[in-house]
Amino acid sequence: MVEQVKADFLEANLSAARSGERTVADIGLLLEGTYPYIRGGVSSWVHQIISGLPDIRFAVVFIGGESGMYGPAQYQFPPNVTHVETHYLLQGQTNSKPGARRGNARAFEKMEALHAYLRREGEMPGEQLERAFTGLGSPEGISEEDFLYSKASWEYITHQYRRRCTEPSFINYFWAVRAMHAPLFVLARIARELPPVRAIHSISTGYAGFLGAIIQLRRKIPFILTEHGIYTKERKIDLAQATWIRDHNDDVCNTLHDEMGYIRGLWIRFYEQIGRMAYAHASPIVSLYEGNRLRQISDGAEAEKTLVIPNGISVQRYCVALEKRVNEIPPVLGLIGRVVPIKDIKTFIRTLRILANERPDVQGWIVGPEDEDPSYVNECKELVASLGLQNSVKFLGFQNVLEILPQLGLLVLTSISEALPLVILEGFASGVPCLATDVGSCRELIEGRGEEDRGLGAAGSVVFIADPEGTAKAARQLLDNPERWRAAQRAGLERVKRYYDDKLMFSSYRNLYQQALDRDSEGFAELSGAT
């Protein structure tokens, strides 16, 4: 069957070549803050997809915050990456000095209509509004200089402030509006200057998804959206907490209220809206597991466009690790993942504190890169010191998981948010049961999804987030009870072999891409026929 697909592909490529279209790649991957600069679940997944589909040419478009936030590329590009570009949203592209200008008042009027549409939930803007929207950053629409310096822009912002803003501080409103919209001009430029590709694939909503929507509108090429986490949700949590936004009410009100400041709400609505834009123009919209698919639908994705493609791993690859295992259960808890707040490493450390009281031989290893959030890494190390765990908790840094997994007795994941963590599958394939918080698809992975899957048994335990007591208890139940442990190991092995082999994932994506590229050539044929 694979051979057949491959042949189809070559055929498609050939037809594209025949039609004379010059593209730098088949699929343009839009990546926000991940591959190839940041290691992590999403990045390894991207790398896996690119490597797993060697006959498709990929363009990698990275969108980051500021260039200082990223080090060198963390991955070696496979040969089928034929084009790479890197952009930074927070670095204004215009070096132009501020100068007074009138600005295109008509374009701002159109913008008002677009904003009005966006405010009404559910409805999607019509064709001419979309044009106002794609005119962003171009001379006929609103150019970046117009947005930043023009009198028309000033009139528009003050008008909106007078009409809507309930926040008293004008300067806060003004800068929020600026900060919010400045990246859109960078995106518009990326969309304008990206060399031709045949389809685009964004690996999140947010700015990357929005960029996908702009490209889709401008070029009428297929736009695939895959979401690992739910971007909008994560942003909302950040924003609800963010201390850089000051709520006026907090200063003057001491009663209990759930009112959010206008600006906080503005930011949240902004991310909701750009997410909705991405959903409106993407097809299909892929999620990793059922929970997230439902979430996408409730966030505005059309149900018939959504589908689930779970992650997979190369099970064979981990046979080595399985064979290396010794017979007894090593008293080692391993947390494999980046040392960042979302993984809640601290709860892992606290769990170890409790375990150390009861079973002093238990070790905790934290395996993962420590370069993303150095201050958090420090906090964790200091917590280890202050809890007196220097002897039982080790930070091993980035390691080859094939070496580490055989030495673990339990894989622990204390994350407060996850999608479908590959590391659990890797653990299963290497014969390590897993202890994970009840987030994302962790429960599905450990306890099974359908009736049949659940029949395989539990491959570990699911615990509450931020619950060291419960986690320690669950860990001891598995470590102290070899029978239960072995049952969990068996269930994990069987589950990963049956449902999460990467061959399944590759063939799903191969099909998706195939359909998209077919649609593209049809679209191209239509276009060339029309002219």
């Binding site: 501020p98 100068g99 007074a100 930043l148 310096y149 023009s150 009198k151 822009s153 000033w154 003050t158 402030y161 007078r162 008293p168 501080s169 004008f170 300067i171 806060n172 003004f174």
Partner: protein, 456 residues
């Protein structure tokens, strides 16, 4: 830098005629003091010296020398005055008070040392008097240049009584030393002026040094491109050039002037009325200090505070209106008080000239000069408001206009004949003031837009 304005306004708040008189008296001395007191004291030295038997020729030479020294030192230090004022204000705003002192010494050494190096060759080359006289001229110039720099701290000081007292002492010393040394004729008189100005320079410096303790003796940070504004340097230089260019033209055009000493020439018909007229800007200057440096400065501060501290747009606009009102009120008050002064001069000018023994031939020139210098006070007030709004380009445009029109119009009056003398300067300053008003009103209209959208 508006410390003194606030202090003086406090006297006004006591609300009696005596306090009003006192407040404006102080304000007049502080703001117009160095200008007017110099003119007065030099006239006085001249009159007293003649009474003591110094030859009229020597006294004339002395007065011309001092006038040239004033003009040259003002033009030379004008740029630095403005640039350094801004530097000090920025440092004060940034809370880096300790930076002020070393940079003040830096500004002084550059102005004084540079002035010395630049003016020593022409003085020694062009004057054929004794070495001592040349040295006196040069030293006088250097001290004056330094004094103008030190005086920019005046409006920032709060101790107005001490300032007035120091000014009085300085000019008294100048007069006494000049008269005591009048036996040496010109040299003695120059020595007196030097002593007076030297006392003022070092006395103000003494106060400043004690007021702003620093962390080192000498720094040249104010020359740093990132921290200072060379456009302000150009504005300062252009402004003083504009103020003096008509006088220089009259001094060096043969049929309006005569040689006095060395290369220096004077224009009897032009000089006396204009210097006399400058005495009549004191009321306007006093109002300027109280209304601009206090009322407007306060409203300006509140406006930017409203922006910084996150007020509503409506409140920001309200504050803008208040600020515009304060500026308008200030300009209007100057207009009023200078208007009355002009009217009084028109009424009693003839008697005045007669009383001090100046030929009534000068009367028309005197009238037009009083009008011109009154408008000059207005222009100064407008420029000051624009400085507060940080409209550096606009100010440069206005001063350039002032300079060029004064140059052109003055030449034009030379062609048109003696009855038009003085009208060139008056027309130039009025035109610039109108231009300033126009720019100011435009600036005010788009103030929030420019403040928010065009910063950085």
């Amino acid at each position: 830098m508006a410390g003194i304005g606030f202090e003086i306004r406090k006297i006004l708040e006591r609300d009696s005629y005596w306090s009003v008189l006192r407040a404006y008296g102080y304000a007049g001395v502080v703001s117009g003091g160095p200008w007017a007191l110099s003119i007065l004291s030099i006239m006085m030295i001249g009159i007293l010296a003649v009474m003591l038997g110094v030859a009229q020729r020597e006294v004339n030479a002395f007065q011309i020398c001092v006038t040239y020294l004033m003009a040259a030192s003002l033009i030379w230090s004008g740029g630095m005055q403005l640039m350094f004022t801004r530097f000090v204000a920025d440092r004060a705003y940034a809370g880096e008070q300790a930076e002020v002192l070393p940079n003040l010494f830096g500004a002084l050494i550059i102005t004084m040392g540079g002035g010395f190096a630049l003016f020593a060759p022409p003085i020694f080359w062009l004057f054929d008097g004794p070495f001592f006289q040349q040295l006196l001229l040069l030293t006088n110039f250097v001290v004056l240049s330094g004094l103008w720099i030190a005086l920019i701290f005046l409006s920032g000081m709060k101790a107005y009584r001490r300032i007035v007292w120091t000014l009085a002492k300085g000019y008294t010393i100048g007069i006494i030393v000049a008269l005591a040394a009048s036996a040496w004729a010109l040299n003695g008189l120059l020595l007196g002026v030097l002593a007076g100005h030297g006392y003022l320079l070092f006395s103000f410096l003494h106060h400043i040094v004690r007021e702003y303790p620093g962390n080192s003796l000498l720094k040249l940070d104010f020359l740093d491109r990132k921290r200072s504004f060379y456009s302000l340097f150009a504005v300062g230089t252009l402004y003083y050039l504009a103020v003096w260019v008509d006088k220089f033209i009259f001094w060096f055009v043969p049929h309006t002037s005569e040689p006095v000493i060395g290369p220096l020439r004077a224009s009897i018909i032009y000089d006396l009325p204009i210097f006399l007229a400058y005495l009549f800007i004191l009321p306007g200057m006093a109002v300027f200090l109280v209304s601009m440096e206090a009322d407007f400065a306060e409203q300006h501060e509140r406006f930017y505070k409203a922006i910084r501290e996150g007020d509503t747009l409506m409140h920001i606009e309200y504050r803008r209106d208040r600020m515009v009102y304060a500026a308008r009120q200030g300009i209007y008050e100057i207009f009023k008080v200078q208007g009355i002064t002009v009217a009084l001069c028109l009424l009693w000018g003839r008697d005045l000239l007669h009383a001090i023994g100046i030929s009534p031939l000068y009367i028309h020139l005197f009238y037009i000069d009083v009008v011109a210098v009154s408008v000059q006070v207005l222009l100064m007030a407008i420029l000051n408001v624009l400085f507060y709004l940080d409209a550096r380009r606009e100010v440069l445009l206005i001063t350039a206009c002032f300079f060029i029109t004064n140059l052109l119009f003055t030449f034009a009056t030379l062609q048109l004949g003696a009855e038009t003398f003085g009208y060139g300067f008056a027309a130039s300053v009025s035109l610039s003031a109108f231009l300033g008003l126009f720019i100011l009103s435009r600036k005010f209209n788009r103030l929030e837009y420019e403040t928010f959208m065009l910063q950085g």
